[in-house]
């Protein structure tokens, strides 16, 4: 893949900040961001929402979070239902929102799919991400999540 630029990373950091601020009233902290290469693998937490890219771009964007973070986010949305199905729905919606918001910068030529969701590690998820994706590690309150960005222009 073509390395993502600093400006493009900022687009996703901005989307993460906006999401947590709007939904919870509290910004998430960006713990670190790095290129996952060699022995460093992108993280996969309890629930993951994957968006595939099309149009002038290829690759994918995924958001992966711990179960407890998603439960807290649902509470922040006043959603009392906390089944695994609802947590999968939530993680897919967050991935969709982050990818959709990124189109403000990338434009409509970045086609985004409906989310595919996973509980725990998945071979399909690992296969979707190519070499050297960019990882943004997030902390909100004491809970962890990550956004993984694998974008290249066609």
């Amino acid at each position: 893949m073509v390395d993502i630029t600093e400006r493009e990373i900022e687009v996703f950091v901005g989307a993460v900040n906006r999401y947590f601020a709007q939904i919870t009233g509290e910004k998430a902290k960006i713990r670190s961001s790095f290129l996952a290469e060699g022995e460093i693998h992108p993280p996969i937490y309890d629930f993951t929402g994957l968006i595939s890219l099309s149009g002038r771009y290829r690759g994918c964007i995924y958001f992966s979070a711990t179960k407890i973070m998603l439960m807290r986010l649902l509470l922040a949305m006043q959603e009392p239902r906390q089944t695994d199905a609802h947590l999968l729905d939530a993680v897919g919606e967050i991935a969709n929102t982050l990818a959709g918001n990124a189109r403000e910068y990338f434009g409509e030529d970045m086609g985004i799919s409906v989310p595919t969701t996973f509980q725990g590690p998945s071979e399909r998820l690992e296969a979707a991400v190519r070499e050297r994706p960019y990882v943004i590690m997030i902390k909100w309150k004491q809970y962890e999540a990550a956004v993984i960005i694998d974008i290249a222009k066609k």
């Binding site: 709007q22 006043q78 939530a90 919606e93 969709n96 982050l98 959709g100 189109r103 434009g107 409906v114």
Partner: protein, 121 residues
């Protein structure tokens, strides 16, 4: 006023439905909730809502196509697009195809109420 909520996320559908009880809004009766454009069109034809909240990225039929079909069936329908797609071209496309307003996700309760009031006015 009769309302149809269209979004592939059950969490967003429920959240929008909850906000409908806000006293700042006129009396709204939810006549249906759909998780894709095909379901939405069927409900739109049967329940004839005056107000619709419409997601764009959905399976089977996307929200732009669904908006266009609804506007053809009833040009007076007030369709508010509620979507994360934040590029200007998509908003313009949805408005040209019949939407009356556009609200970006993520949204606060206040932003949704404001957008609904604007569309209804």
């Amino acid at each position: 006023m009769r309302l149809l909520i269209v979004d592939d996320s059950s969490i967003i559908r429920s959240r929008i439905a909850r906000i409908m009880g806000d006293p700042r809004l006129p009396s709204l009766k939810i006549v249906g909730m759909a998780k894709n454009g095909v379901e939405a069109l069927e409900l739109f034809s049967n329940a004839q809502p005056e107000l619709v909240t419409m997601d764009l990225t959905m399976p089977e039929m996307d929200g732009v196509e669904c908006t266009e079909s609804m506007a053809r069936l009833n040009p007076q329908a007030n369709i508010l697009v509620v979507s994360a797609l934040s590029d200007k071209a998509t908003a313009i496309k949805a408005l040209k195809r019949g939407a009356k307003g556009f609200l970006y996700k993520p949204f606060t309760d206040e932003q949704l109420i404001g957008a609904l009031l604007e569309v209804m006015s």
